[in-house]
């Protein structure tokens, strides 16, 4: 039955399969590992696109460690006035900071048309203040990193739950047939590590494909995309695997598992063609690379990460997290540490904003900037700040949200979120809403019940939507 034709390589199809026995005729119900179709009623997720989507993708700029909101976006004149005086109200429990107010060295001023207050710590983001939507009344669970990092990335401070990106991947699928929906660039190994971009009990394909680690862009490639040896030889191996698998399928009769594996090998092979181009930030013009700060040591890694994020976004990836690495945790050395972190991230972020606008992607991209919590307005040690989940700032940007807008307030010193409080669950609900997903309906059955990203909480913060 076989008519073999190898010209050094296997031809991919037609080998050993007569026309009456093509795989097409054997094909079983389609199984595409990265479905481009959204989750449907039938697989346990009662349709998700019940609200009109305002954006197609999220780029989460995760400032791991917790940047200080009172030194960036939450201007507190009384903090400047009362520098060195005791905090006039009680501290939350389990805190090391002494209740003495500390004013940071960065001046605040009103920016742009909107007059949004931003400090000098982030001069490039400040210049684009009219495009920023600042939520100054965030609060979350977890006085320590582990819990708060879990909250911002998975909505749970103690239990193993799918990450936000995994939920989005599950709900929307990928916008590119050959690329994953969910990518994490430079994810930290600390504070839960892979759990923060993992799938938990969702199907494994929704876990992020990790690029680099700990805030480092690294080689910026998908693991094992390239094998050792010549590309032609790798392709031949892919082809030979396919031959073996097709034979196996023929012998077995119909089989979903074998068919699925054949599809996966195919997709891997297509990824090998598609990904290198998308992942190659070298293809950008010198001007673009310079705008992202890739030519300078301080900004290179985060610049490359932001540029890759834009390329991925352009190609259809749904959820991209860029992690700064666990660097914003200034219990001491606030000035030096925050200065260094701002230097590394501020300019690449501004370049990303400009780039998205220039390419017409601004309107359907949601940028989220922030840490797992903020920092105390009171001093720790000589010149540091402790963790502050009681009140902090996160920044949204993109067409879906109001620009030059601030929502919510903390108290006079920036300690507790007071007015229009936004819990981390609310932020997640809002992110999903912007992507057209009803956070109360996006569920997955596990261990006897239906789970949600927002558990039993979450309010869409309509007020920030444009």
């Amino acid at each position: 039955m076989t008519s073999l034709n190898f010209d050094g390589h296997f031809s991919r199809r037609g080998f050993g399969l007569t026309s009456s026995m093509t795989l097409g005729s054997l094909a079983v119900s389609g199984f595409t590992p990265w479905s481009t179709a959204p989750a449907s009623e039938s697989n346990g997720s009662p349709a998700t696109l019940r609200v009109p989507p305002r954006a197609k993708r999220v780029i989460f700029l995760f400032m791991h460690g917790g940047p200080s909101h009172v030194d960036t976006f939450d201007y507190k004149p009384l903090l400047a006035r009362d520098d060195g005086k005791p905090l006039p109200f009680a501290l939350p429990p389990n805190l090391n900071a002494s209740p003495t107010l500390l004013n940071g060295p960065w001046n605040f001023s009103q920016r742009g048309q909107s007059g949004l207050w931003v400090s000098d710590l982030l001069p490039h983001m400040a210049e684009r203040a009219d495009s920023l939507c600042v939520i100054r009344s965030m609060h979350t669970k977890g006085q320590s990193h582990g819990q708060a990092v879990g909250m911002v990335n998975t909505g749970s401070d103690n239990l193993v739950r799918p990450s936000v990106g995994a939920w989005v991947s599950y709900a929307l699928g990928s916008g590119h047939p050959d690329l994953p929906a969910h990518v994490a660039i430079g994810p930290a190994t600390a504070h839960g590590g892979p759990r923060n971009y993992g799938a938990a009990f969702l199907p494994a394909m929704h876990q992020a494909t990790a690029i680099g680690s700990n805030g480092n862009f690294g080689k910026g490639i998908i693991p094992y995309l390239d094998g050792i040896g010549e590309s032609a030889s790798i392709q031949e191996r892919f082809d030979l695997v396919r031959v073996f698998n097709e034979r196996h399928l023929i012998r077995a009769g119909l089989d979903n598992e074998i068919q699925g594996a054949i599809d996966a090998v195919d997709l891997a092979s297509r990824m090998r063609s598609a990904a290198p181009e998308v992942f190659d930030v070298e293809r950008e013009t010198q001007a673009t690379r310079t705008a992202y700060g890739i030519h300078e040591k301080a900004t290179r890694s985060f610049g490359e990460s932001c540029l890759l994020a834009r390329r991925l976004a352009e190609s259809g990836v749904r959820f991209i997290t860029i992690s700064s690495g666990q660097v914003w945790d200034q219990h001491g050395n606030l000035i030096e540490g925050h200065g260094k972190n701002a230097l590394a991230t501020d300019r690449p972020i501004a370049a990303l904003m400009d780039d998205l606008k220039q390419r017409g992607m601004w309107d359907d991209t949601l940028i989220v900037w922030g840490g797992e919590f903020g920092r105390t307005p009171v001093v720790q040690g000589k010149n540091g700040r402790d963790h502050n989940p009681q009140g902090f700032t996160m920044v949204l940007a993109g067409g879906a949200v109001k620009g030059g807008f601030a929502y919510g307030e903390t108290d006079d010193y920036g300690y507790y979120a007071l007015r229009d409080r936004v819990h981390m669950h609310d932020l997640h609900a809002t992110m999903l809403h912007i992507l057209g997903i009803d956070h109360e309906r996006l569920t997955y059955p596990y261990a006897g019940r239906d789970f949600r990203l927002t558990d039993v909480h979450g309010r869409v913060v309509q007020e920030v939507l444009s």
Binding site: T2, L4, F6, G16, P33, F89, A90, P92, S144, H145, G146, Q147, N158, T189, A190, G193, A200, F201, P203, A204, T209, N214, N216, I222, P223, Y224, G227, I234, E236, R237, F238, L240, V241, F244, N245, R247, H248, A252, G253, L254, D255, E257, I258, G260, A261, A264, V265, L267, A268, Q326, Q390, E409, D412, Y416, L418, R419, R421, A447, G448, R449
Partner: protein, 953 residues
Amino acid sequence: MFFSTAAARILRVLCVATVGLASSAVAKEPADSVEFFENRIRPVLVEHCFKCHSVDAAEIGGSLLLDSSDGMFIGGDSGPAITPGDAEASILVSAIRYESSEMPPEGKLPDEVVDDFARWIAAGAVDPRKSTEPTVRGPNAIDLDEGRKFWAFRPLRLSEAPTDPLVASRGIIDQFIGQALVDADISPNSQSDALKRLRRLAFDLTGLPPSVELQNDWLADPSPSHWIQIVDGMLASPAFGEHWARHWMDIARYADSNGSDFNATFHEAWRYRDYLVRSFAADRPFDEMIRQQIAGDLMTAESDAERHDNLVASTFLMLGTKMLSERDKPKLELDVVDEQIDTIGRAFMGLTLGCARCHDHKFDPVPTEDYYALAGIFKSTVSLEGESQEYVSTWQGTPLPTSNEHRDAIAKYEAEKESLDKAIKSAEADVKQASATNEAQHRGIIVDDSAAEKTGVWKDSNYIKQFIGTGYVHDDNSMKGEASIRFVAAIPDDGEYEVRIAYSPGASRSAAVPITIETADGEENVTIDERRVSIAPMWGSLGKFRFMKSSPAVVTISNVGTTGYVIADAVQFLSREETNSSENVATGDPTALAKAKARVESLRNDLKSLQSSAPEPVPVAMAPADRPSHEIADSVVHIRGDIRNLGKSVPRGFLRVCGGGQATIENPRGSGRLELADWLTDPDHPLVARVFVNRVWMHLMGEGIVRTVDNFGSRGELPSHPELLDALSVEFIRSGWHIKPLIRQIVCSTAYQRSSQYDAQKIAIDPENRLWWRMHRRRLTAESIRESMLSSAGILDHSPAFDLMAGQKVLVSGNDNNSTADQIDAIGVPRRSIYLPLVRGYLSPMMTALDAADPDLLVGHRPTTNVPGQALVLINSPIVAEWARITSQRVVTSSTDFEDQIKLAYQSCLHRLPNTDDREIADAFFAGDRSSPDRWHQWIAAMFASTEFRLLD
């Protein structure tokens, strides 16, 4: 709850400032009047509360209704909302004060409004609303009797097995399965071919492929009796224990580190792993294993070995991932208890008990009280004890029994160490004594550089360790002529004093530092050579001068005209008597000091050598313990799972739905874990044997009789063959909870040996193969895929490995960006996978891609995914390529005959003989190049990545 009460009070003050005054401050109506209610209470209720607390609410919050007077009295999950006459005792008041909870959640009400409510309740809570207005719905009570009717909670039943429904029926498995097939009018597939069956058996029982020799033996005699012989051989092999231990490790969420926020090393977890290997290999009864895992630390033992296993087994309770840095320790404790209850519920009973932490189980008959009956048991158990650093909890450990010789050696070592420690201490005291010279040198009047007036630039330093005060200053060898430092001292008595200056000597110092001394006899100028000292260790004498009480003594050191560094540390003025005594010390004691120091040195060396030959410390198990008896207590219900929201106390006990008998522990012996273990292993427990037998069945037959192996509740699936499950469970219990006979029975059945061949007609009737008309095609475990490659390469090392994490510190990976934990990946070490370290957060990418169990979760049924990452790791990872290379070499060198080489390749990689088709592919692939190592490497690598390699047909 984010706020302490104190903080909340402060916030209240702040709220007033932002919210402003919502109502006039002075009430005109008396608080016990209907008007007061109508004007001040009802509008607030309507505006702020009814959205969630009225019969019209979409979902009633906390089961509490506030739209009738009855609703308020009866209350919700937290009890009555108001206590008329006592505002302070009313939950409604503490809730709107943001104390017991934070109501309304959108923002706190103005203080005036809160006060109105307090006053209204204090005055008797006059409420004109008819008590019967809406029907008050209490929390839905679970009907346990109704619940017990569900199949899983009914007692095990022994039904008569149908006799001979099919020709090949032998034993109850084939009788029950055969009857169901006959009923459905499906004729099952025939027996699979011999080598496929052998491969299936080998992987199922040992996790390893059948050797080429075994394949050949079997092919020579594929008889049922030979089958049984092979089965028994495999059951008796060490590999069986390893493979089946790994199955249970999936349930036990086994790992060698904590993962989560602080990735602390589990130095002792491997002992539990080895306990499992030993137990499965020795066919330890499973009820005993349950008792040991739940309460091993409390069980009495007849031997050290038994005590050892008991303790090590209880590590089961400790292995969950924990948020160790949670600063709210009571919350952490409840989280740990929750994880333990959830694990026990799913592992042993197939019940998802975690749901009942916050409310009655929505689907299964598990009331919240039952959850807290169990919680009392685990709250009375210590899992976490102490901290490895501030706020970071660590776990409880218990010393393990050890041999007398070992104990003696430790005792001897400790005695020797103690005496050496003592000797060192005393020698150190001698050194101190001798060093008192320093003290002596510090006599007289000393003025430190920190108290001196400096002109010009002086830099602080403490680089050289001997100095007065906190350091010394130097002129940085620059700005010569511009720096001076002025030491001023008040002299107690008129007279002659020796003046010394302190500095750290060295070659870089100035050889002539000019110094001016203002004496009773006028200014004196001297120079001093700071390259060396005249009085060890740090003094240079300037000479003796006369000073008067009436005017201060001043010494000024300057850097005018100097070359080299000028150092200034302190100036000392010594009276005649002081000079004498200090000189004695300075000249007399260096030898004494040196001697004392030498003795310390030598003793320390002795200690070092003693320590280097120290006996191993007493081994420790990562085992729980009961709390001291005065801390053992029942738990209260935590309303909605909230650590601070307390309900009534529940006596420790079990799930009432399992059996109608006593579910409360009468007189607990300690925490109650012993009683829990007894209850779980009671032969009449409806779930435990069923759940376990179903797991064994799933590992061998591809799916469970209940497919949701971890969920036997109403949200789980119903059993496809309930009578068979019960029959096997009853037999399992009767024959003493032994696992090997159960496995033997299953793999000797006809059903097990059926072909997995597709059949369009049968698929049409039973597409999911629920009736087992064929064998399920199954994925090999990640471990087996890896070990199969190592076996093909002929390099699998079968010897076990032990203490994998011995070299690791408290944290296996730090919480910074420079973790080295990824270097622990031992995937290339050619041992069985069970002996490789499992570090949470750093699982091998290859094993993860092949669906190894995620140790963060209890995994009863591993998912089987088909993602590109899997294809990439199998085709492109360097380690797989390397194993393929070794295999290809082995094949090439085995023979010079191409046919033989191909045969060996198939037998060692796919465990079957090549067929004509395979040969044709090979002929074409190797055309003209049959001895090329690269071609062979390519061929084997493709085989490793093929579906046939990782599937069990």
